[in-house]
Symmetry: C2
């Protein structure tokens, strides 16, 4: 039974609303090499990825830290899946709020 996990509310985590995403926070989040790598890898894979499936040069706790920064800046959305935590890039939200920004960063 893996059925009834459909509670759409109960965000569980702090995800800023689209209109609350701040430019400075986004730029700061992207100005770190590890986080930039995460974002790039998420952009390359349309599927949600588990936090642990990234090639990062940092320990577990630091990894958690980076994912939180990305989430609170509004760059990614995180969702629990069993023992893992899946992340997806908030592409549309970002494109809505700051058109062209993500594309420019990704293609750089």
């Amino acid at each position: 039974m893996v059925g009834m996990e459909q509670v759409p509310v109960a965000p569980e985590f702090t995800h800023p609303a689209v209109e609350e995403i701040e430019l400075a926070a986004v730029l700061h989040a992207l100005s770190d090499p590890q986080r930039l790598r995460i974002v790039r890898e998420l952009a390359a894979n349309a599927e949600p990825l588990a936090c642990g499936s990234f090639a990062l040069d940092v320990g577990k706790s630091t990894r958690t830290h980076h994912f939180r920064v990305l989430r609170e800046a509004g760059l990614i959305e995180q969702r629990r899946d069993g023992t893992r935590k899946l992340s997806v890039l908030r592409r549309e939200d970002l494109d809505t709020r700051f058109p062209g920004l993500l594309d420019a960063v990704l293609s750089a």
Copy 2:
């Protein structure tokens, strides 16, 4: 006319070459409110502006600091003019290196 500025003219200041401009440095430079204001104001005025002619909430030395960060990140070009120091946005260089990035940030 962006031809030949590699000469003995005493660089005077550290201006990274176009291909040396780093994304992380640019993003970090832009992630500060005061610096973002400077960049926006420079983008609005095509003419070079003196460092002192900006409405910033910080003291002189801090101002100098921000302009150095922007210059070393490759965002602005600075030139002496008498007692003043004029700054211009390196629009073309930025557009060459990271197409669309500056526009996206400015229109945000």
